[in-house]
Subunit: 179 residues, 2 copies
Amino acid sequence: MDRSRIVFSGSGGQGVITAAIILAKAAVIYEGKNAIQSQSYGAAARGGATRSDILIADSEIHFPKVIQPNILVSLTQESYNTFSPIIRPGGLLLVDPRYVTIGTKVDAKHVALPMYERVMEEIKKPIVFNICMLGALIGLTKLIRPESILKVLETTIPEDFMDMNKKALDLGLNLGEAA
Amino acid sequence: MDRSRIVFSGSGGQGVITAAIILAKAAVIYEGKNAIQSQSYGAAARGGATRSDILIADSEIHFPKVIQPNILVSLTQESYNTFSPIIRPGGLLLVDPRYVTIGTKVDAKHVALPMYERVMEEIKKPIVFNICMLGALIGLTKLIRPESILKVLETTIPEDFMDMNKKALDLGLNLGEAA
């Protein structure tokens, strides 16, 4: 696919924006693509829902906003209810069943993966939930190489935290590839 | 002003993107405004320069990109050289003299404040340089209230780090108000 239109949504504190920044950087710096990543804040932000858009393309990007994502990740019921209607028909909708009960009205490939549960079982640190989600997304879509995510992490987080992040990415990759 | 068009630029690791996210959140959650904050990655990102755009408005925002900022912050010479030509004539250009030597060709109000030096003298932690920059910007422009920045920090960073961040914000405010 020449162009990926992605929306990550959830609540403040789930690391949705950080995950979006990591994904965009990885695609650009280590895979030679172009990317724009943005947050729109407004009434939704005041209510607690967070949305971050990522556009990744081989060619230059002119309009920086995602209208209809072909990939939507929703990590809370509120964000699922708000954003699932905008998904491109036939798109991929990734949720965590701990937080989201899937509706039936949306024309999309729904994938529910127990990312939070696996992170808590294996790593016991909710802070890497967002990295597990990135792993799951890459396992499902092959959007970019997992190594590119690891390289971004290596340049942005302290070395002591790399093990935990690598484990979370691997957990997600395994979940995504098996789905 | 109904609409502020802001660009933060520098190099990876200076906290430019984090500062942009904090500013946008503060404006929306604690001041009732609308905001869009974005990063464009591409050739520039591969070379190490980081740019983050923030649009803050009382009314709804339709086009999410900043074409001509009325406020530009440049924290490296490379980012200054790259982005100073796009500033709106008569706009505000904030730099740190440790990193940037100002050129003369740009129609803007140049303000050079020794933010990095003051942070290292008083706090000795370069990690809060970006918060000092936010303080300086607010001291200069009264864009939003400093308390709104502190409230965002309180919900996003561990309590142990609040003192250091508050000090950095105050250092910046004093520099900006005295300029």
